[in-house]
């Protein structure tokens, strides 16, 4: 199905990894600047969509077979988010309490902060990214293959 030129294919192939890195960067810097899990997920998802448009579903899945696992990724993102929100209830704190509490020290590794808020954002990232790729897999497959039947 792919009607893309050699120029499109080369650039698209080159741009995939920087897109994913940008998405992770937006996720990580969300603790102290503008950025969060949702926008990171959308950026990463858009990266996969561009690959899909240039290469078509068959070639994309052949190149990156782990994209088939996207529904599992979305599901685990949702579960991680729920656990992060409800876990403090088990030891008596209200729902969605984040640790370390405000005012305490936050251990850093460069810009990455070890804070449950980052964990929650990562969960949202997984959910959104997994959702976008799953939708591509469901709908896109029909359009990708020749002679789409229902």
């Amino acid at each position: 199905m792919s009607m893309s030129t050699i120029l499109t294919r080369t650039i698209t192939r080159l741009i995939f990894l920087p897109t994913l890195v940008t998405a992770v960067a937006v996720l990580v810097k969300g603790y102290a600047g503008a950025g969060d899990g949702f926008s990171a997920g959308v950026i990463a998802g858009t990266g996969v969509v561009i690959q899909f448009l240039a290469f078509g579903p068959r070639e994309l899945v052949a190149r990156y077979p782990s994209l088939r696992r996207a529904p599992l990724l979305a599901w685990s993102g949702l579960l991680l988010g729920l656990v992060t929100a409800f876990a403090p209830v088990i030891w008596g704190d209200p729902i969605m309490t984040l640790y370390p509490r405000p005012g305490e020290d936050v251990p850093h590794l460069g810009l990455l902060a070890f804070h449950t808020a980052v964990l929650f954002d990562a969960a949202v990232f997984l959910l959104v990214f997994g959702f976008i790729v799953s939708v591509l897999g469901t709908i896109g497959n029909r359009y990708g293959s020749e002679g789409a039947d229902s």
């Binding site: 102290a32 503008a34 949702f38 959308v42 939708v135 709908i139 029909r142 229902s150």
Partner: protein, 124 residues
């Protein structure tokens, strides 16, 4: 500033409403997207104030812009994203079901399956 925002919101809403009443389902989805974006802008206009960004450590003695509105808009955008995704999925399902029905009934009139026949229009 409020006037500019109000004008943009009304233009967005108007275009969205115009598209919403079209027969083609994709145009209808586009209308929904425009309308939900108009609502998001409306939320932004509910908390307009000039100031520095609301991130600790706060600069002393300066005005800080309202962070609640930004959280509200983000949530509204995410909810709108999910709802539009469900809407598009439903449109796609209508398309495949109608395609199957057209194949069964031998519909050769050349009308694209995405548009609804007059008796099936949403505004009924």
């Amino acid at each position: 500033m409020i006037l500019a925002l109000a004008l943009v919101i009304s233009v967005l809403f108007g275009c969205g409403a115009f598209l919403l009443l079209k027969r083609d389902l994709i145009r209808m989805a586009g209308g929904i997207i425009l309308i939900s974006n108009a609502a998001n802008l409306f939320i932004v206009s509910a908390g307009l104030s000039r100031g520095r960004e609301p991130i600790y450590p706060l600069p002393a003695g300066e005005r800080i812009s309202d962070p609640v509105v930004q959280a509200l808009v983000l949530t509204a955008i995410v909810i709108g994203f999910g709802t539009v995704a469900v809407l598009l999925g439903m449109i796609y399902r209508t398309y495949t079901a109608r395609l199957a029905k057209a194949v069964d009934e031998g519909d050769e009139t050349g009308r694209t399956p995405m548009s609804m026949p007059p008796e099936d229009r949403v505004a009924d």
